[in-house]
């Protein structure tokens, strides 16, 4: 039994023109101590998926179906109070994208750490809580005296470390890290990632790392789930995703980031934008942007298929892996005019075949 | 060389393009914004009434467009004393038998005049002070902002009353009094906006080219803060109209210009509030509607200037 077991989760938003299916039938499991990466462009639904785990979404959103089982507790069935007291932060905490905005600007960083410790641990005195905050600062490489500083007095990297301290202060079992380093410059990024990994191992917690950056996940994650259009389109261990992905979207994403092994490689981005998730039609949601889409892709929603070792892929053409990988590496494949519904502009791939 | 000759021209074009885009945005912003649309309709109606309130004679064409007001608003005894509304006098008559409906229509002009002139001048002054203050900084900024502080300490109505007592109560003096106080908020806002623009690369590059201060301020920075000035102008119209009405109500209005505020002052001094509801309510409601329409429009413009607001609606 995994620590966290998400089954067929559907989180929808009410919008003026219908339901936005931000998470639409996602299943995912996370083991103790494991790091799972959620990768996708912005708007793909990865953040909603992660926040659904602690039911942290606006008033107009709700989990319409599915289950989130955390260590035997069904999170979807908890009352708000139980959720707050038992799950949030004490079991599952988070590190936001921009730490600077993650702290309330009008209170000192230390007081905000103390606030959360004292809320969850009734018998911890203020003094003890402060002591723990200082220790955490020390461990994370910040001068402990700075707990009395205000957020704006920290540099970006320091603020992110302070945020990590906040996320770790209750030794949670799962940390939701939402693009924890994108706001920072590259040199600091690595050091912060290292720090996170180190602390994670120390307290043996699992982590869900949300990012659009393939290079970040490849270094830090055990397994990677690729999210598109509110669904997990491909999931496998990090190496498989990086070396031999089967989904065209994963291929495209990989193209968009520099390859550590091949410095000369051109960066290719996927044309188009993520789909509108308001009441989507049948068919693969990636089809409109996919250079390999066939008639079937437009008509039939692909089911997840298992390719061994937990490598699940939702694609009709996942079997043609060599061809796909070869073609996807070419820049021309991703030219915008090459893509579209077959009957409008027939893509070469199909006529060639 | 090419950049040097190019730069002012392109900047100018950019400025024009910017304004064009702003105006287009403005109208786009009204789409789907019910309040903004209502505001536009009300304002357009008032403008129409204001323009055609009284007869207009075009000399060289030798034609006279008849006015909307059925009677001379100042003529006494066009009806009886304090007659309630009737077909002849849709809004009844005043204590000296003047036609309230005609007065209401004639008052629209004064309102439009005060609103537009005062707002334009206040925003013009405010924008320039804000621009100069932020652009030059240092002691210039210090002096101008201290002056702004002092103007902020001036309570508006008492100041206007004193000024009108000195200069006499004419519409021009009332506008002057309003303008002298109203520019302050625009100056502050424009200043902070310009401060942020000053740091941007395009200003640095203009400086590098050796453009003059005036050129940088008016050709490079101004087009970028103009939308904000527009917004403040919209609100200033509302405040100016309220200010004129309040002054008139206190008896400091221009005696030669019958405004809505002065109509209420007349009801008040004629001690007819309890008797002649038809004389009190129309001008009061007119003031409210007019200012509301301007505020509705301002709110919509605000979304153009500050697109973040759009997502919050």
């Amino acid at each position: 039994m995994s620590l966290l077991e998400i089954t067929d989760l559907k989180t929808y938003y009410r919008a003026s023109d219908g339901w936005v299916r931000a998470t639409d039938g996602v299943s995912l499991s996370v083991d103790r101590g494991e790091t799972v990466g959620l990768v996708g462009e912005s708007g793909s639904g990865k953040t909603t998926l992660a926040k659904s785990i602690i039911r942290l979404f606006p008033k107009n959103a709700e989990i319409v179906d599915g289950s989130i089982n955390y260590d035997g507790t069904e999170i979807t069935e908890l009352t708000d109070r139980q959720l707050r007291k038992q799950i949030r932060w004490s079991e599952i905490s988070m590190i936001p994208q921009n730490a600077m905005n993650g702290f309330d600007p009008v209170y000192t960083v230390g007081s905000q750490i103390v606030e959360v410790i004292r809320y969850h641990e009734d018998d911890t005195s203020k003094k003890e809580a402060r002591k723990r905050a200082r220790e955490l600062f020390n461990e994370l490489g910040i001068d402990p005296d700075r707990i009395d500083d205000y957020p704006h007095q920290f540099s970006g990297g320091m603020a992110q470390r302070a945020m990590i301290a906040l996320a770790l202060c209750l030794s949670p079992n799962i940390i939701l890290a939402d693009e924890p380093t994108t706001a920072l410059d590259v040199v600091i990024q690595d050091r912060i990632l290292e720090t996170i990994k180190e602390k994670q191992r120390e307290i043996d917690s699992a982590m869900i790392m949300i990012t659009h950056d393939m290079s970040v996940v490849s270094e830090t994650c055990d397994r990677i789930a690729v999210v598109y259009g509110g669904r997990v389109v491909e999931i496998a261990d990090a190496e498989t995703i990086m070396m031999s992905p089967r989904h065209p979207y994963t291929l495209g994403l990989r193209n968009a980031f520099p390859d550590i092994s091949d410095e000369d490689k051109d960066l290719i981005s996927i044309p188009g934008t993520p789909p509108d998730l308001v009441d989507p039609d049948e068919g693969c949601r990636f089809a409109p942007r996919c250079p390999f889409a066939t008639e079937e892709c437009w008509e039939v929603t692909p089911e997840a298929e298992d390719y061994g070792d937990g490598h699940m892929v939702e694609c009709h053409r996942a079997d043609e892996i060599e061809y796909l990988q070869e073609e996807a590496a070419k820049k021309e494949t991703w030219m915008e005019q090459e893509i579209g519904r077959p009957d409008e502009t027939p893509p070469e791939v199909t006529s060639d075949d | 060389m090419s950049t040097e000759t190019n730069s002012p021209v392109t900047r100018l074009f950019d400025g024009v393009a910017n304004s064009a885009r702003f105006i287009r945005d403005k109208f786009e912003a009204f789409e789907g914004d019910r309040l903004g649309q209502i505001g536009l309709v009300i304002l357009a109606t008032f403008i129409f009434i204001g323009i055609f309130a009284r007869p207009i004679t075009i000399d060289f064409l030798n034609i006279t467009i008849p006015g909307l007001a059925p009677h001379d608003p100042t003529a006494t005894r066009v009806g009886g004393r304090l007659e309630p509304p009737s077909l002849e006098h849709p809004l009844g008559t005043t204590v000296l038998g003047r036609d309230v409906f005609s007065q209401l229509i004639a008052g629209t002009r004064v309102t439009l005049l005060v609103g537009s002139l005062a707002a334009f001048m206040a925003v013009f002054i405010g924008t320039n002070i804000g621009l100069v203050s932020a652009y030059f900084g240092g002691w210039v900024d210090d002096v101008l902002m201290r002056i702004t502080d002092i103007v902020y300490a001036v309570p508006f109505l008492p100041f206007a009353i004193v000024l009108v007592a000195i200069l006499g109560s004419s519409i021009v003096n009332i506008i002057v009094a309003i303008v002298l106080v109203l520019w302050r908020s625009t100056a502050r806002v424009i200043r902070s906006q310009v401060l942020s623009h000053k740091q941007r690369p395009y200003v640095e590059s203009a400086e590098a080219i050796g453009a003059s201060h005036v050129r940088i301020m008016y050709l490079h920075i101004l087009p970028n803060v103009l939308p904000l000035a527009f917004l403040y102008a919209a609100f200033a119209v509302g405040w100016a109209v309220i200010a004129e009405a309040s002054l008139s109500f206190l008896g400091f209005g221009d005696p030669t210009m019958l405004s809505w505020g002065e109509m209420i002052f007349n009801v008040y001094t004629a001690d007819a509030i309890r008797v002649a509801w038809w004389w009190v309510f129309p001008p009061g409601i007119a003031i409210m509607l007019f200012v509301m329409s301007v505020f509705f429009i301002g709110r919509t413009l605000e979304k153009v200037v500050n697109p973040e607001l759009r997502h919050q609606e």
Binding site: - | A53, R54, P55, T57, T64, G67, H71, D72, P73, T74, A75, T76, R77, R81, L82, V95, L96, Q103, A106, G107, R109, V110, L113, A165, G168, S169, L250, G251, F252, P255, T256, M257, L258, F265, N266, Y268, T269, A270, D271, A272, I273, R274, V275, A276
Partner: protein, 553 residues
């Protein structure tokens, strides 16, 4: 745009057919249709310049503001450009009376009881001695023939003789029209007949009169509350006092004589009429026995003598008693020796000097007098000062030891922002009467409300337009007379004031029956007559109807 006042002529031209025609009568004399387009003088000189017409704002006086508008419209009608200038009271007085920087000025002149004696209206207002800055003779009227009469009447102790002189004087100024005398603005003062009784409105003052305040009586309780649209400045009799102040100072302080309800001085603190000897140059007065001040001290003949010396020393009021040469006292009598004959001595001096307690004011330096503050305002009058909070209320209490105690135990005066606001308070019952004329709209409400009534009174003061005779073309008598023919006096009284008040043509009101000359020349709205006057004066009109001097002028 509402062109109500300014440049009406231009407006008419610009607007074309707008139905704005006003007073079309007499247009034909304007020469429309008789070929040459010019009437009046054979050849035209310079055009008459724009005239500066200083008038009160409608906030100061709505009635008079309307009147001014009508007058200005008529002046424009006969071809004169008018610069219509509305001013607040203080600015108006400063410009017209002090600076004398005006062409025509529309102001009122109050009809307080001490002005029932014709001296103020005849001498102060029209004698050439008083045409300096701030003087009463605002128009700068200077006519030796008239001056002689004005001086003569002061020295005539015989009332019949003096009446004849005053009659002649009135004829002369009616003929010369240094001012347009328009209307005596009597009217009604509203009161709650359901709450008070014994009201006694008098000539010129209505319910503000002294006699009313001591005779008014509450039907229930012990308090009468009076409303007045403005606040009292001071109760110090030695300060510069405005009319509302005087109306209360005289409740607290007594005089030797008071102006009676008939307008004639009657003995008050004096026991009897004065003994006049020496051809009107010696006045002897005996004071009433047993009078005391509010603090219980006796009022003696020494206090009276002290008072007159105090006035003589006062920088503010010294001139009032200038005419007194010497004062003697013996027993209960005080004798005044005058420097010269002064017919209105009883009304204007003995009736206006307030009696002071020497034990309170004795040590005050003359230049401190106007700043002196007697916290309890101790006088000997029928009311005692009780308490005062400015802009809130002034409370008085009856002085029971007075020889003529008031009928109400307490008297409260409430200042308000305006009459309209106070009328509301009268209706709601927080005020018992108002010392001001309400708007015509209130008249109907008085009729409808069983608890309310209006006290009618007439006025001897009037509203008038002063012509600045120091400047041309006002030095031309025909010009002034023509302007006076443009004043719609009847319209003003009947329509604008809804019948309150009376039209006047003389400086002495018809309600001042003894002194009023009913046979003076009359000027009411008549534009034809105005044009005829102008033609006679050698003026003429151009094609546009604008008024010009004749070429020979």
């Amino acid at each position: 745009m509402a062109f109500r006042k300014k440049n009406r002529r231009e407006f008419i031209r610009a607007a074309g057919a707008t139905g704005l025609a006003i007073g079309v009568a007499g247009c034909s004399s304007n020469g429309d249709g008789n070929g040459n387009g010019v009437s009046g003088a054979e050849e035209l000189g310079e055009q008459i310049r724009e005239l500066n017409f200083v008038v009160p704002t409608s906030g100061v006086n709505q009635f008079r503001n309307e009147l001014a508008n009508m007058v200005a419209a008529n002046w424009r009608e006969i071809g004169i450009d008018v610069d219509f200038e509305e001013l607040d009271f203080s600015a108006h007085v400063d410009k017209a009376v002090v600076q004398q920087d005006f062409d025509a000025s529309l102001l009122g002149w109050g009809g307080t009881p001490e002005r029932i004696d014709p001296h103020t209206f005849i001498y102060d207002m029209h004698h050439s001695d008083n045409m300096g800055e701030g003087g009463r003779n605002t128009p700068g009227y200077s006519n030796p023939e008239y001056d002689e009469l004005a001086e003569l009447q002061v020295t005539q102790p015989d009332e019949e003789e003096r009446q004849q002189t005053v009659y002649e004087a009135q004829e002369i100024i009616a003929r010369d029209q240094p001012r347009a005398y328009i209307a005596n603005e009597g009217g009604i003062h509203p009161y709650a007949s359901g709450r008070i009784t014994g009201i006694e409105p008098t000539l010129g003052e209505g319910l503000n009169s002294f006699w009313n305040m001591i005779s008014v009586e509450p039907l229930e309780g012990d308090t009468v509350t009076m409303g007045y649209p403005s606040e009292i400045i001071s109760l110090n009799p030695m300060q510069d006092l405005a009319t509302p102040d005087r109306q209360f100072v005289r409740l607290i302080y007594d005089q030797l004589f008071r102006i009676g309800t008939d307008g004639l001085p009657t003995p008050w603190a004096a026991a009897d009429e004065p003994e006049i000897e020496d051809g009107g140059r010696t006045y002897t007065v005996e004071i009433r026995d047993g009078m005391t001040f509010h603090d219980g001290e006796d009022l003696t003949i020494d206090d009276v003598e002290f008072t007159y010396n105090l006035y003589a020393d006062s920088p503010t009021y010294g001139s009032l008693v200038d005419v007194i040469g010497e004062i003697e006292t013996s027993g209960n009598e005080i004798t005044f020796h005058l420097e010269e004959e002064y017919a209105p001595f009883v009304a204007n001096v003995l009736g206006q000097v307030y009696l002071f307690p020497e034990h309170i004011w004795g040590d005050v330096e003359p230049e401190e007098l106007s700043d002196f503050e007697d916290e309890n305002w101790v006088g000997s009058g029928p009311f005692m000062f009780e308490d005062w909070e400015r802009q809130s209320e002034l409370q008085l209490r009856a002085f029971d030891d007075h020889f003529n105690p008031p009928n109400t135990e307490r008297f409260i005066r409430i200042p308000g922002s305006d009459v309209a606001q106070q009328f509301g308070a009268l209706e709601s019952g927080s005020i018992d009467f108002i010392g001001a004329i309400p708007q015509p709209t209130a008249l109907a409400r008085i009729d409808e409300d069983d608890d309310l009534d209006g006290a009618d009174f007439e006025d001897i003061g009037y509203v008038k337009i002063a012509y600045n005779m120091r400047r041309e073309p006002f030095d031309n008598v025909n010009f002034r007379r023509a302007l006076s023919y443009c004043v719609p006096k009847t319209e003003y009284v009947d329509f604008v004031r809804d019948g309150m008040g009376t039209v006047t043509h003389s400086t002495i009101s018809e309600h001042n029956e003894f002194w009023h000359n009913p046979d003076v020349e009359e000027f009411d709205e008549d534009l034809d007559a105005a044009r005829a006057e102008l033609e006679e004066g050698g003026f003429g009109w151009d094609d546009d109807g604008a008024l010009h001097f004749g070429a020979d002028q």
